[in-house]
């Protein structure tokens, strides 16, 4: 019994890390370019896009999860197309946990990175152009390096948020032991079934993991000025 429990704690811990890393990887790949465009470009509907990106930050995660079901569920707008063609549905898989964490944590990345990119000195960007560098070169060698602190902060916040994701994950991925029960979900299950000792263990483990991650991130941010 003890061995089983240890196994399930270990499983949840590993799943949580896996979901958070994968979600964060997608967040970096999409969030940094999105932040760049929102910070540097003027286009129609820009503020609308910003609002859509920000909404998951203020909506209850269950509502975000509800929208995700409407879009990606087996009968959802996109989910049905995928299911009809391939027989695959993302619902109740660990991919769903990644998707939920991605959507909920993305605003933290976009907001933080956008602010950092907007605060890069206009003259430094202009200097890069007058020195013969085009836009991509300037973005990669001047703007992003100078916004690095804000971007790292965004990554840290997104990862931490993804690790702690609960509501949207519950809606989309369910809480299936040994399959989709990340640490927050496992803790919830343990608490409602009165298994306080095990819940304690997991709460402490999650807290230490998050704290350790923030500590590493702080060291890195301080070193890289």
């Amino acid at each position: 019994m003890d061995g089983d429990l240890n196994n399930s704690i270990l499983f949840s811990a590993r799943l949580s890390l896996q979901v958070a890393w994968v979600a964060t990887a997608f967040i970096i790949v999409t969030g940094v370019p999105a932040a760049y465009f929102l910070a540097r470009k003027d286009f129609k509907g820009k503020e609308l896009i910003d609002i859509i990106f920000t909404l998951p930050l203020v909506l209850p995660p269950t509502v975000t999860g509800y929208y995700l079901i409407v879009i990606f569920g087996r009968n959802g707008l996109i989910g049905k197309m995928i299911y009809d063609r391939t027989g695959f549905t993302i619902m109740f898989t660990w991919y769903a946990a990644v998707l939920a964490s991605f959507v909920v944590a993305l605003p933290l990345m976009v907001k933080t990175a956008r602010a950092a990119i907007e605060s890069v000195d206009r003259n430094l960007i202009n200097a890069s152009y007058t020195l013969g560098h085009g836009e991509i070169e300037t973005a990669l060698r001047v703007i992003l390096p100078l916004a690095k602190k804000g971007i790292i902060a965004g990554i840290v916040l997104s990862f931490a948020r993804a690790m702690g994701e609960f509501g949207a994950t519950l809606m989309l991925a369910g809480n299936i032991p040994g399959k989709t029960d990340t640490m927050p979900l496992a803790i919830y299950s343990l608490a409602i079934s009165d298994e306080w000792t095990q819940a304690h263990t997991m709460v402490i483990l999650l807290t230490i993991m998050s704290g350790l991650f923030l500590y590493i991130a702080n060291i890195y941010t301080k070193r890289s000025i």
Binding site: N123, A127, S128, Y129, T130, L131, H133, G134
Partner: protein, 239 residues
């Protein structure tokens, strides 16, 4: 036709710039009160701000011609630009700042040319320092080296000495004359310091409320000012 010729029209909030002038291989000073459109002119020449109408031509190349639909981006215009705050990249060493100014040159040549610039601009020993670790005068020289490494066809200077204290400013005047000798290209210097203008200028272009009030040599501007305002500008520094 060699040299730089511009005609620029630009409306910004409550201000209209409408100026045209040309210079040859000489040092021209854009002179006038703050807010008369001097810096705006420089930024439009470099391609950082788009004029509403007009034309910008350097030697035989046209960089901007509104009626012909020509508007080259700043990276394709062969100007060296020194900003008022110098705009050295804080995350790059002096060496990397300078080398950043020569993107289209092959790597080996880039390095050897950067070494030449470092020696010529008396920056030897400072290659691995960051801009925050060098003095004001050294920063000036690094900014000039960075702007000149790719051998631009003209040099645009937006009040680069305004933040320096007086003795250093005098030193930088001498330095700028050396630069002129080494790189025989047109130089446009924006300043509102008449002393500086009179010391350096081959030609003075006086700006007033977004228009060119007078173009001429120092003597002409001082002895035959075209208006009461030009006279006042010149008189303030005449001792």
């Amino acid at each position: 036709m060699m040299g730089l010729s511009v005609s620029l029209k630009k409306k910004v909030k409550g201000f209209t710039l409408d100026a045209a002038w040309e210079i040859g291989d000489e040092l021209a000073v854009l002179f006038g009160y703050s807010g008369s459109g001097k810096s705006l002119t420089l930024q439009m020449i470099a391609g950082l701000i788009r004029p509403d109408d007009g034309m910008i031509r350097l030697d035989s190349k046209t960089y901007f011609d509104n009626s012909a639909g020509i508007d080259d981006p700043p990276q394709l215009r062969a100007f060296g630009y020194v900003f008022q705050d110098l705009a050295l990249f804080p995350h790059m060493t002096v060496f990397r700042n300078i080398i950043f100014g020569a993107p289209e040159i092959p790597k080996d040549e880039k390095v050897s040319r950067a070494k030449e610039m470092i020696e010529a601009f008396k920056l030897t020993g400072l290659e691995d320092r960051y801009p925050s670790e060098i003095s004001g005068g050294q920063k000036q020289r690094a900014a000039f080296a960075r702007a000149l490494i790719r051998q631009p066809d003209a040099l645009l200077l937006d009040e680069p000495f305004s933040a320096l204290d007086h003795p250093l400013r005098l030193e930088m005047r001498g330095f700028l004359q050396e630069v002129r000798k080494r790189f025989a290209i047109p130089v446009i210097l924006v300043t509102h310091d008449f002393d500086e203008a009179s010391f350096l200028a081959d030609k003075i272009i006086v700006y007033s409320h977004g228009k060119v009030a007078q173009v001429g040599s120092l003597k002409e501007v001082m002895n035959q000012p075209s208006s009461a305002e030009v006279q006042m500008l010149a008189d303030t520094k005449k001792v």
